[in-house]
């Protein structure tokens, strides 16, 4: 696909001007890193702050009297537990109990939900939700083109953002949100993120993107904020063991296998795939996602074969150097009997068999 056919966020020219190295990310022309480099960007988010353009993410709105019933039908977490202005991580399910996508469900009120979905899945998700909407008194709208989304993450993120926001950020709890203004621009302001750090994600009119982006960089740079690319976003989420669609989860994996039982609320009533998931829980899993550390010198990368004895039992779903932990880590599905912490196995790294060990996750957990 040539660069002229790639989709662009409103900040595309800004990324280029500021030295972002652009790559094709699922059909989007996005910065993989800035001049500081992935390690510096990663460390900035762990120790100060970073800003990410995540405007490629999709936004889908569900409105109407039976919005909750529709959300409950298509997702595995229990959206009835949400209060107004609260958000929840969830799975958009197939009838097989596998993932169409992983999403964030935000409740404005019981008749208005706002879903944040993966960029490359947004059209698929919208079509999927629409196809299940008949029978529910609810209207589904794809708002992906209407919002820019920026993630400001790190221990100093709130301090950087507060002076330009007319809502009290300290009053928004983790995974809650509010509406307000960012430098005068109406915005949804959520205390969410995909890095394992505190921070906010803001959604607003794409026409204001460049001004808001530059304003945040100007305010944040003296405090150590760096613009960050997708490579740092990936290493940050991996250290925090957050799943990535197309890697840990897809339409062949269930939330139970992905070690996401906490978003799989079988007791909430009927939903797509519930029966399959209930049976899987009843019969027990045959495999589960684990975190591992590479013990030998070497890096296990995405797709590398995982071996027990001479048998390949799976592959690395995500593997990378962990810049903050300074270890080589990864995630992989292993047969249940090999998932206990401390279990040793091997990874085929381009013909070399390297020792790895199942370790507790998340690999990194911020101190509160």
């Amino acid at each position: 696909m040539s660069s002229t056919q790639l989709k662009k966020t409103a900040l595309n020219e800004v990324h280029r001007k500021q030295g972002g190295k652009m790559v094709d990310f699922g059909g989007w022309d996005m910065p993989v890193q800035y001049p500081a480099g992935t390690i510096a960007e990663h460390l900035a988010v762990r120790t100060a702050a970073g800003i990410f353009d995540v405007s490629h993410m999709g936004e889908i709105e569900i409105k109407g009297p039976q919005s909750l019933a529709l959300v409950q039908h298509i997702t595995c977490n229990d959206a009835s537990k949400l209060s107004d202005r609260q958000a929840q991580y969830s799975g958009l399910m197939t009838p097989a109990g596998t993932f169409v996508d992983d999403i964030l469900v935000h409740r404005f009120d019981p008749e208005h939900y706002f879903l944040c979905v993966n960029a490359s899945n947004s059209d698929k998700d919208f079509d999927w939700i629409q196809s299940h909407a008949p029978g529910f008194d609810a209207e589904v709208t794809n708002l992906s083109a209407d919002y820019s989304q920026l993630a400001i993450q790190g221990p100093r993120a709130l301090e950087i953002m507060q002076p330009m926001i007319d809502a009290d950020l300290s009053a928004i709890k983790y995974y809650w949100f509010t509406t307000g203004h960012v430098d005068g621009v109406p915005a949804i302001i959520a205390r969410t993120g995909y890095t394992g750090e505190d921070g906010v994600e803001i959604y607003f009119d794409p026409g204001e993107s460049e001004r808001i982006w530059n304003k945040i960089i100007e305010a944040g740079q003296p405090l150590g904020l760096l613009p960050c690319g997708l490579a740092a976003r990936n290493t940050l989420r991996l250290e925090a063991k957050m799943a990535l669609y197309g890697h840990e989860i897809d339409d062949t994996t269930t939330p139970l296998e992905a070690d996401l039982a906490w978003i799989c609320k079988l007791g909430k009533g009927e939903f797509l795939g519930r029966d399959v998931l209930a049976a899987q829980k009843e019969q027990g899993l045959t495999r589960k996602l684990v975190g591992f550390e590479v013990l030998d010198k070497g890096i296990a990368r995405d797709g590398y074969p995982v071996l027990i004895g001479d048998q390949q039992v799976g592959h690395v779903t995500s593997g990378s150097p962990a810049p903050f932990l300074k270890k080589n880590i990864g995630l992989a599905y292993l047969p249940m009997e090999h998932t206990a912490i401390g279990t040793k196995f091997e990874i085929d790294v381009r013909g070399r068999r390297l020792a790895a060990e199942v370790v507790p996750t998340p690999f990194y957990k911020r101190s509160k």
Binding site: V32, G37, T38, A40, A231, I299, R301, S320, P321
Partner: protein, 130 residues
């Protein structure tokens, strides 16, 4: 500065600086930029001999890895030990502290087949347009 003109280059993005019968080998500024932050460089042992265009090591960055190829044939007479603790030198000083191996040249005329600075620059530009 991106491609110093006292070096010879390959289409695999290595460079070689010839001094007497010895050549110092590293990767180009373009190559280090493509790789991103380098975290590990796997180098051969002193005394190993290689043909030209032979696989002599590997370089790993956060995001990816790349194989290293000899620009010319020869025997490894030195390796850059500093890269074990400071692989980021490949990024910060690709033509200086980020060098990888020194080869005792088997045949000094082999460098005639390599790219000059301007030829390499043209090659890099043609790659960028793809």
């Amino acid at each position: 500065m991106a491609y110093p003109d006292d070096l010879h280059y390959t289409k695999d993005h290595e460079w070689i600086r010839v001094e007497g019968d010895t050549g110092t080998v590293g990767i180009s500024d373009f190559a280090q930029e493509q790789l991103g932050d380098v975290v590990h460089v796997q180098l051969p042992r002193i005394g190993e001999t290689f043909d030209a265009h032979a696989h002599f090591g590997e370089i790993e960055s956060v995001k990816t890895f790349s194989e290293l190829f000899t620009p010319v044939s020869g025997e490894v007479v030195a390796i850059n030990e500093a890269l074990a603790d400071a692989p980021e030198l490949v990024n910060s000083e690709p033509y200086g502290g980020g060098w990888m191996i020194k080869l005792k040249l088997a045949n000094s005329s082999e460098t005639d087949k390599l790219l000059s600075s301007s030829e390499y620059e043209d090659y890099v530009e043609s790659q960028k347009e793809d």
